[in-house]
């Protein structure tokens, strides 16, 4: 083969750094406890299908107990001076930094993502997020939400499996900084890092009940969202579930933020530096196995450079290493679950059936575990399912355009609006495109960049509200001019 991969010796990160217990309870009111009805489920490593641990499966009674614990803790926690709350968060940030290698290995085991990403992306961002919001805790009056913004109360937070600990950080750090207490439910396929986070809270001396972790399935998440003791709902996950949550909270006073799906266009103009753009395309869709809501899953390439870009892209894809997540040379790890693998497989098959041309590099996949080779579809039209639906896997759909106006038209032709990418050497074109794209994050000549100071969130059916930055505080504060339980639902029931 023309572009033979170098033969790399295995370079596995040791998993000895992680000390896993055979079973874990729910973390409620500062203590681990079994589920009220004693139910448990298993967390499996998606790269080996090995059972990592058994964890308690929360039910309605557990949700109720956790919300009550959070409510009880809210009084004292919200009354603490911001500087003191901030110091707890700084402690958490520091402990996360200290334990980052352990947590990176754990995350790679439980999620299947490459250690290079958990070590170099997830964990540094997790610690940075706590560090950033720690600093806001005593500066809320400067955040632009009135002179004395108040916390909302108990936040019910439901997070996905693609960035378990990072999504936890995005949820918990601003909530606590603003003076709320939280009940958080991690995804059922990736519960472990949240339980380790509970231990970080213990080490930081965080008062009991301020953070409660409920492992479980969608039923527990639904019960949490619907619980009347919850004042604020934050969800990251699919648009379908996001809509169900919006219906559940309708008519209540609960404030909601939703970070949902995406179908981002990554737009490459003919004047773009091709090699750089190809790196960005690869990062955009194959980072984290494509399990990224803001993934650049639609490549829009200007017709005149189509061949050049695709040739370079295929060459680059041939060098991607799929395999053991704990190997430091791995680029693409395991698909998170059998269920997700089935979904990706079905959509890819639909792509072929609808007439798009499928291509993947020759790629040996491990025997056990869930795997999907990096895949490219050309000849994709806007009507194809693979151009419309979120695949949430390492599958790129390539479309072409001739003019900037056509690129904008195609990029915006989606119910989603989370992110977009623009590749061109012309600054004025970047800014003009950015102003016309209906997306919450626009990356120019880069992709998948995240920072705690930078607001993240979607337009349209990608959700509402922002996480990160000064803007991320708004989701957890009752500003002076908006009654607690915002989004227009005031305390007065009579006005409806």
């Amino acid at each position: 083969m023309a572009h033979q991969k170098f033969a790399y010796a295995p370079a596995p990160e040791s998993r000895a750094i992680v000390d896993l217990a055979p079973s874990y309870g729910l973390f409620i009111d500062g203590e681990f406890a079994e589920a009220a009805d004693g139910r448990v489920f298993k967390s499996v490593s998606p790269s080996s299908e090995e059972v990592l641990a058994e964890v308690a499966r929360a039910g309605e009674a557990d949700v109720d107990r956790a919300v009550r614990a959070a409510r009880k803790a809210f009084g004292t926690w919200s009354a603490l001076p911001g500087a003191e709350r901030g110091k707890y968060l700084f402690r958490i940030a520091r402990i996360l930094q200290e334990r980052s290698r352990e947590l990176a290995v754990l995350e790679s085991l439980d999620n299947g993502k490459p250690i290079r990403e958990t070590r170099d992306v997830d964990l540094p961002l997790v610690a940075a997020h706590f560090f950033y919001y720690a600093g806001w805790a005593d500066k809320l009056a400067y955040a632009g939400y009135g002179p004395d913004p108040r916390p909302l109360g108990v936040a019910g937070q439901v997070i996905p499996w693609n960035f378990p600990l990072l999504m936890l950080a995005w949820k918990i750090a601003p909530a606590l900084a603003a003076g709320n207490t939280v009940v958080l439910k991690p995804a059922e396929t990736t519960p472990l890092s949240a339980l380790f986070f509970a231990d970080v809270c213990r080490q930081a001396g965080l008062p009991r009940g301020v953070v409660n972790i409920l492992t479980g399935y969608g039923d527990a998440g639904a019960a949490l969202v619907a619980h009347e003791g919850v004042d604020k709902v934050a969800f990251t996950g699919s648009t379908e579930v996001g809509k169900a949550i919006a219906r559940t909270v309708a008519g209540t006073g609960k404030k909601v933020t939703l970070e949902l799906g995406g179908k981002a266009a990554n737009i490459v103009f003919d004047d773009a530096p091709i090699d750089q753009a190809v790196e960005g395309i690869v990062n955009g869709i194959f980072f984290n196995q494509g399990h990224v809501c803001c993934a650049g899953s639609r490549l829009l390439v200007q017709e005149s450079v189509q061949d050049e870009v695709l040739d370079a892209l295929k060459r680059r894809m041939e060098t991607l290493r799929v395999g053991d997540p704990l190997d430091k040379n791995t680029d693409i790890g395991a698909i998170n679950s059998a269920e997700q693998l089935a979904r990706i497989t079905a959509l890819a098959e639909a792509g072929e059936a609808e007439g798009a041309e499928r291509w993947a590099p020759a790629c040996e996949l491990p025997e056990s575990g869930y795997w999907f080779a990096p895949t490219l579809f050309t000849g994709v039209t806007q009507a194809h399912r693979i151009a419309r639906e979120e695949i949430f896997g390492p599958v790129l759909s390539v479309l072409t355009f001739r003019t900037p106006a056509e690129a904008v038209e195609k990029a915006n032709n989606t119910p989603y609006g989370l992110s977009a990418g623009i590749w061109t050497e012309k600054g004025s074109r970047i800014l003009s495109m950015a102003s016309k794209l209906r997306a919450g994050v626009v990356w120019a000549n880069t992709f998948n960049k995240f920072d705690p100071t930078s607001p993240f969130g979607g337009y349209k059916e990608s959700g509402y509200g922002r996480e990160g930055g000064r803007h991320g505080l708004e989701a957890y504060l009752a500003a002076a001019d908006v009654p607690a339980g915002g989004r227009g639902h005031g305390e007065g029931e009579g006005d409806r």
């Binding site: 110091k87 900037p404 003009s432 000064r470």
Partner: protein, 303 residues
């Protein structure tokens, strides 16, 4: 051999030195001055002020001040070029290091300011927390004072704060440690480097702070600490062409006016002293913005 404890052990005294360019030099002039405690001021048996002798502090010269400016200037590129996140972590590290030395500083502050043990401990705690407060500001001030400007035309227009450069800081005379931290931390939080003149009669907590900074990942030259006669050291600093700003907090009204006039020569940013500043109050943001320039970038929008 005598059993331990049967004789009183003679303590080892510290030689207090300047902190310049990450090193601890004596004054190039070879001069020192006697620092006494403030408790004994009314009593007898003391030194020149009537207080008990504490240390011979370096009496920094004009040349020491100029050397400090050179060191501070050298450090500007690295420190202002560090990410705000990185600066925040370094400032937080200062708080961590200081926390472990609370007793030492409480003793030095008690001696310097004549405070009770409990009061001086509270002052040191407040100083530690102040480092934390400013650690949190490093990556937020741009979001509070900067932003996009909706100009009436097809232009992207963004204003961002940037550090002024080298800032000379005359630390307050009335608060040798909390006051010092309160004027120094905002200067470096915003990416500037500092040449600090410690409280004239109570410079020891400031000089000890140098030892904390030296072990807190603060790059050498970012903070330079001088002790001596405020007027003597401040005069060359105010006139120095390579100093970009001066905080006159520690100068009396007459000296402040003189220094402000000297500072006008290269249009230094000047922060005038405010009477009776309360160092325990919420510091606000004015000490951050005092040392920031606003840079506005325009770029056309169009295909």
């Amino acid at each position: 051999m005598k059993a331990p404890g049967t004789t009183t052990r003679l303590s080892v005294q510290k030689t207090y030195k300047l902190y310049v360019g990450g090193k601890f030099p004596r004054s190039e002039s070879g001069r020192v001055y006697e620092v006494t405690d403030s408790r004994g001021a009314k009593g007898s048996g003391g030194g020149q002020d009537g207080g008990a002798w504490l240390a011979n502090a370096p009496l920094a010269s004009r040349k020491d001040a100029r050397d400090a400016v050179v060191a501070a200037r050298k450090a500007v590129a690295g420190w202002s070029g560090a990410t705000a996140y990185n600066r925040g972590q370094v400032l937080y590290r200062v708080a961590e290091m200081l926390e472990g030395r609370r007793e030492q500083f409480a003793r030095e502050v008690a001696d310097a300011e004549g405070l009770s043990k409990a009061k001086s401990a509270a002052v040191v705690d407040a100083a530690v927390d102040r480092w934390v407060w400013y650690a949190g500001w490093t990556d937020k001030i741009a979001q509070v004072v900067g932003g996009a400007n909706p100009v009436a035309g097809p232009y992207f227009n963004l204003s961002t704060p940037e550090p002024t450069g080298v800032v000379a800081v005359l630390a307050p005379q009335d608060s040798s440690f909390l006051g010092l931290v309160s004027v120094l931390a905002p200067v470096i939080a915003t990416g500037n480097t500092a040449v600090v003149v410690a409280a004239e009669r109570a410079p020891l907590p400031a000089l000890s702070l140098g030892e904390v900074l030296a072990t807190s990942d603060v790059p050498g030259g970012v903070v330079n600490l001088l002790s001596g006669r405020t007027a003597e050291i401040a005069t060359p600093l105010a006139a120095h062409q390579d100093v970009n700003g001066i905080d006159l907090t520690g100068a009396g009204p007459e000296l402040a006016a003189e220094l402000e006039a000297a500072a006008a020569d290269n249009l230094k940013r000047v922060r005038r002293p405010a009477l009776g500043e309360d160092w325990t109050a919420d510091p606000g943001t004015s000490r951050l913005t005092a040392w920031l320039e606003t840079k506005t970038v325009w770029h056309p929008i169009g295909v």
